[in-house]
């Protein structure tokens, strides 16, 4: 079940299907009419161009990829340790009571 969404994701990011369609179109085209200036070819080419541009914009908008994975994991670990340390400090200071306060 987990592999299916993964495959779908990889297919979304792959350009091979579009390139395959263009190549296929070129081959069939050539066999039938020897005319490479058909609007359908340009349409397929535009599709590819558009997809590349959209993917580029998507990459620029994606958060958290300014560093590589290892650095990010290190930052995450550092943050986790800081949170843990501060939690311990707070727990220690809030529980620190040296005086016997009589309950009213």
């Amino acid at each position: 079940m987990e592999t299916i969404p993964l495959q779908q994701e990889t297919e979304d990011y792959s350009f091979l299907p579009l390139i395959h369609d263009i190549i296929k179109w070129c081959e069939t085209f050539d066999v039938l009419r020897m005319d490479k200036d058909s609007p359908d070819v340009h349409q397929e080419l535009n599709k590819l161009k558009t997809k590349i541009q959209e993917t580029r914009e998507q990459i620029l908008a994606m958060p958290g990829i300014e560093t590589n994975l290892e650095q990010q994991q290190q930052q995450l670990q550092t943050l986790t340790e800081q949170v843990h340390t501060k939690n311990q400090l707070l727990h220690k200071y809030k529980g620190l009571c040296m005086f016997d306060i009589p309950k009213a």
Partner: protein, 259 residues
């Protein structure tokens, strides 16, 4: 060869994911364009050049695979980024809690320091009082002595109109050293002596003895010389009152204004 590859890998790993994605995408664009152009040329030209096509195709497939892996990694990094944002918010909250605690601790320290200081001062005062302690009887006796002359409270029988005053009047001042300095006729009698001393020595004129009867008749013996203690008995009061009344009629006297 291996070192070159490892260097390339190192360089690739140091680059951010965004840079690698954009670079791979650019490669894909270039390769796909090249492949399409080669295909278009190969159709127009008679001998097909499949070797170069295959190479470009293989590179394209490889780059596409890399690109997909990088996109998956980018998605994972996006998820980690969300987690890090959550941790950042928690850290901010913890920081503000710590700052709040710090403020409260400083306040408590200040209050405690003030309290300790005040307590130490009080202990010092207590110690000082203990060292110079006086019995209550002595204090009461002293209080009686200083209030015997009616300087702190009017006599019980004092009424408005009574010329008696708790301070020296004009006549008393004039009969003193400074007053006698301007009056050469009396210099021989009281020169160099205070009225009190002259009174004690029995040299002061009788008219002036009445000036001191603004003091209470029940003055304690400790205030006056012992052998003159009876001179201010009740029998002298009427004369003194007359003299005081005479004194009070003196319009030049500013201190005898009766109410």
């Amino acid at each position: 060869m291996r070192s070159a590859r490892s260097d390339a890998n190192m360089a690739a790993s140091e680059k951010s994911t965004k840079e690698r994605l954009l670079s791979t995408l650019d490669d894909l664009e270039v390769l796909s364009r090249e492949l399409i152009e080669m295909l278009a040329l190969s159709r127009s030209q008679k001998p097909p050049q499949s070797g170069e096509d295959n190479q470009v195709l293989e590179l394209l497939v490889q780059r596409d695979g890399e690109f997909q892996q990088l996109m998956l990694q980018a998605v994972e990094q996006g998820r980690l980024q969300q987690e890090m944002l959550g941790l950042d918010k928690e850290l901010e909250k913890r920081d503000s809690d710590i700052q709040q605690l710090q403020k409260q601790l400083k306040e408590a320290e200040h209050i405690l320091a003030t309290a300790v200081y005040q307590a130490k001062e009080k202990l010092k005062s207590i110690e000082k009082a203990r060292k110079g302690s006086i019995s209550s009887e002595e204090i009461i006796k002293y209080a009686h002595r200083i209030s015997a002359s009616n300087a702190v409270c009017a006599p019980l029988n004092w009424v408005p109109g009574d010329p008696r005053r708790p301070y020296p009047t004009d006549l008393e001042m004039r009969s003193g050293m400074l007053g006698q300095m301007n009056n050469p006729s009396n210099n021989g009698n009281v020169n160099g002596h205070l009225p009190g001393d002259a009174l004690a020595a029995g040299r002061l004129p009788d008219i002036l003895t009445s000036q001191y009867l603004w003091q209470s008749t029940d003055v304690s013996m400790g205030m006056l010389p012992p052998h003159h203690g009876n001179e201010f008995g009740p029998g002298h009061n009427k004369e003194n009152e007359d003299d005081v009344e005479a004194m009070s009629t003196d319009t030049s006297s500013s201190s005898s204004d009766s109410d």
